[in-house]
């Protein structure tokens, strides 16, 4: 179960509106390497994970990703609040507006709605953790790209830099998790059996 804290993990205070940048940043809400996919990936993978260190890591990072999803949503919300119909037309936000008005909806920058096909929960710890390591790097690259796009907008870049840094920390923790998994396997043949299936 979960408890809600009525604060963001790191503050988001953006005074400007900028629907053009919002349409790019929303990809970290509902895009292929976004926070929603990250959270669902880790929280789905953890049930069959046989090693307690790794189950804990998946649970706690999966939970932190929900807090990141809230930060991204806050950025998008603040960048699109009180838009006039002229601003909506001029910025190209009209295609989003017609379906969602100014509400939050998980889509990629391309407009593709969020889908569970963005992640895998494979039931093999080496496979899943290798995906998790890649996912953190893909998210880091996305933040690098967003930070370049948002250059000169300090209030937007600041929380994006925080989120980028978290990808690096999570990559480190998943690397340690993969090491722990391998230490529990036959060091001469990591693939001798699948500890999530063959070890009952």
């Amino acid at each position: 179960m979960w408890n809600y804290e009525k604060r963001l993990q790191y503050p988001v205070k953006i005074s400007e509106t900028n629907p053009k940048l919002a349409q790019a940043i929303i990809t970290q809400f509902g895009g292929p390497d976004g926070e929603l996919a990250a959270s669902m990936r880790y929280l789905s993978q953890r049930y069959t994970m046989p090693y307690k260190e790794v189950t804990g890591t998946l649970t706690d990072i999966g939970t932190e990703e929900l807090a990141h999803m809230e930060m991204i949503s806050a950025i998008v919300y603040q960048l699109t609040r009180d838009l006039s119909i002229e601003e909506i037309k001029a910025s190209g936000f009209d295609k989003y507006y017609v379906d969602h008005t100014l509400a939050l909806y998980p889509i990629a920058a391309s407009g593709m709605p969020w889908t569970a096909t963005y992640f895998q929960s494979k039931g093999d710890p080496i496979t899943d953790l290798t995906e998790d390591l890649a996912a953190e790097q893909k998210a880091r690259t996305t933040y690098d790209n967003l930070i370049r796009l948002c250059a000169g907008h300090a209030e937007i870049v600041d929380p994006l830099r925080f989120l980028r840094e978290r990808e690096i920390v999570h990559f480190q923790r998943f690397g340690e998790s993969l090491r722990i998994v391998q230490e529990n396997l036959d060091s001469k043949n990591f693939y001798a059996f699948n500890p999530e299936f063959d070890c009952h």
Binding site: N3, R7, E53, T57, D60, V169
Partner: protein
């Protein structure tokens, strides 16, 4: 408002100690026997719980566990702005 601690300073402190506690928590999952990290977690968590209770008495609850910290005859959980709103945390 003299006598009342600064809201922003309190919140910055809560964010800082919560972040430190979370960092220790994630690290401890893969290093459960690290005494230094354990100590850091206990210390940060203690400061966090204290700060959350203090904040709730002045500015309303940030967690449901501190929702009754300020004795009041109304439900305070929904009174203060939500985190994404103007004046929120």
């Amino acid at each position: 408002m003299s006598g009342q601690p600064c809201k922003k300073e309190m919140l910055d402190h809560i964010n800082a100690v919560s972040f430190s506690a979370l960092e220790a928590q994630l690290y401890l999952n893969t290093h459960p026997c690290d005494k230094c990290a354990l100590e850091s977690f206990y210390e940060c968590n203690k400061m966090r719980n204290k700060a959350l209770r203090e904040y709730a008495t002045y500015y309303g609850p940030l967690t449901i566990d501190t929702a009754t910290a300020s004795c009041s005859d109304r439900w305070n959980w929904i009174q203060e702005p939500w985190p994404w709103q103007e004046g929120g945390c």
